[in-house]
Symmetry: C2
Subunit: 411 residues, 2 copies
Amino acid sequence: MNDKKLMEYARLVAGVGINVQKGQMVLINCPVECADFGRCLTTAAYDLGARDVIVNWSDDAVSREHWLRAEDSVFDAVYPWDILRNKTLAEAGMGRISVDASDPENLLGVDAERLQRWDVANGRDNREFYRSMMANGFPWCVVSVPSLKWAKKVFPELDAQQAVDKLWDAIFAAVRVTGDASAVKAWQDHCKHLETLCSKLNSLRLTQLHYTNALGTDVVVGLPEEHLWLGGADTSKAGVRFVANMPTEEIFSAPQRDAVDGVICASKPLALNGNLVEGIRLTLEKGRIVGIHADKGEDVLRRAIETDEGSHYLGEVALVPVNSPIAQSGLLFYNTLFDENAACHFAFGEAYPACVKGGDDLPLETLKARGINAESSTHVDFMVGTDDLSVIGTMQDGREVVILKDGRFAL
Amino acid sequence: MNDKKLMEYARLVAGVGINVQKGQMVLINCPVECADFGRCLTTAAYDLGARDVIVNWSDDAVSREHWLRAEDSVFDAVYPWDILRNKTLAEAGMGRISVDASDPENLLGVDAERLQRWDVANGRDNREFYRSMMANGFPWCVVSVPSLKWAKKVFPELDAQQAVDKLWDAIFAAVRVTGDASAVKAWQDHCKHLETLCSKLNSLRLTQLHYTNALGTDVVVGLPEEHLWLGGADTSKAGVRFVANMPTEEIFSAPQRDAVDGVICASKPLALNGNLVEGIRLTLEKGRIVGIHADKGEDVLRRAIETDEGSHYLGEVALVPVNSPIAQSGLLFYNTLFDENAACHFAFGEAYPACVKGGDDLPLETLKARGINAESSTHVDFMVGTDDLSVIGTMQDGREVVILKDGRFAL
């Protein structure tokens, strides 16, 4: 990592990620361990004319103490000042950056019931905020920088500094930061490429997708009649283009809530609520998850799926070829932001409204009527792509079309 | 600095500083640069049974960007979520720790008018909170740990690591942390010593103090009839003993608001709002500051004194002998927490209600009637002690008694 790349990365996130507009409020969630990057983001946001930049620092060690040792009742409600901040800034159309660098196993040993109670409380108390975020009410962007424990998890064989350096290299490659100020242009091109892919898929007007591979996935995923494939940049309510995830290699849509049947086997571990969940196998009937298994962390997974009724249904179907740049790195990041962009994935929980035409402006009941899983307080991606994955689409006239063959686009 | 001393220091602050009670909320304000200490404080607070510990991290670099670059209107109001948090936690009787480690000149170059507008807004919007804090509504404690820039300011001739190490040594000495777990006992003894001094002074029932030295200070400070000298531990509304400053070497009271006349020359630089103010000379008539001079930073000082009407009057008179342990270190800390405990000092702005009998429970109008400066949104200490300072008290019968001679207690 060098300072030049770090600043280029920060400018990319502020300029393309949330695309700061003059006079806009900016909120940055950042671990204290990554203070250098938080400072660069702050400078980059002010350079673009932010009204004010609020950095909401966090710390894995403090967070772990909180989860293990705070009184039980603390997890039944969000502090009112946190609700007020989220709500006020969302309504003001803030740009919101989240820097995700947590140790994937930071909350190992925390009671899964406690994690679930917090999921429920947080979903309820911040409902308005999360709904606004899912519907692109304001620009938001999730990015990552290395932290020591995370880097050691990805590169256990290296010493601390080497591991951090290697993870920086992998992240810079994934987000197209080279140090020669070409990242913004590279992202414009990349987003165009993803939009072209979406156009192709959208023109097919698929009714369903059939996934199969040797790992055991064999599932038919229905698609709503008015579904849209999206990828690259989103458009906020105020009309500003932004990129919600950096990196992003996916094109995604929303399944028909009640038309997913079969078995889904995850192809990578899932870092969920500070725990690693491995060997996931879900069974779905008429869209509902009716069978939950994991070789490791099953309790944490089960509690997450049982957050509310909507979390029993899929909310996202995303296609990523196994020859995506991140997949080709061959790394397992133990971090969904990266691992989901190296493999086809699904999410259980709430769908993005924009996945049906005009969805960001539609009321909840209309979204439901369009067939997507419009109401849940959670949204958890998990990876299913493999290099033998076959995805076959069905068109409205019943004809089949190969979408992915051996994990690669066949369009 | 070593881990053992750091943890002993954290346990001292949690156990004696705010004296955490089972089930109590704890708020820790801490710079990200001092994350190690913030983590130790968190652990120490949970060890004592805190309900939850909230760490409110800050950063000098982000703060400087905010002050220099945010839009003007940002400084006219406190964000409502910050007001709500302060108010809610104060009402809940939280323990509040503030770790002060800022570069004393972090805000050099910031428009003094901006600093003043924020002082006014903050005083207005957090009025209830600050009033509760001044009246011991909840336990609070201000402590310090080294940061790089601060350490370099104190020890400019040393390299970075040496400077930080030296500042740690000075701080550990000042707060009586030795690494052998004797700090709690040492503080109990120390607080008793300060209380004995207070008893002596209180028994004199002084009506005024006359300060003189060669630096130019020549001021008569009237004392309210029901004034009390305080020092060491305070008692919170809930009846819990706590120590608001660590270190603390002072015994203090409140002047008669309208009975301070003469000239006060500061004997040390004052770190005020991220600026150093040097060569302060104030002229007072009937309690009001009518002349303001500083060789450096006069604008920042003037703006602070002009925050509101109450900030034109003194709110604290504090006695510290020049042979106090901190004074004997010979160091200039550029940090009020230390420098005020190495020298006699005054404060302009609001008085502590407890400085008149039963004051914590008295309404504002009664406090005013008792003669103290009961209403201001600010409170700024500045140092006046020198090794030739003479302080002569007058008793109710007109007799004089030497309180300090050559800067040392003569009682």
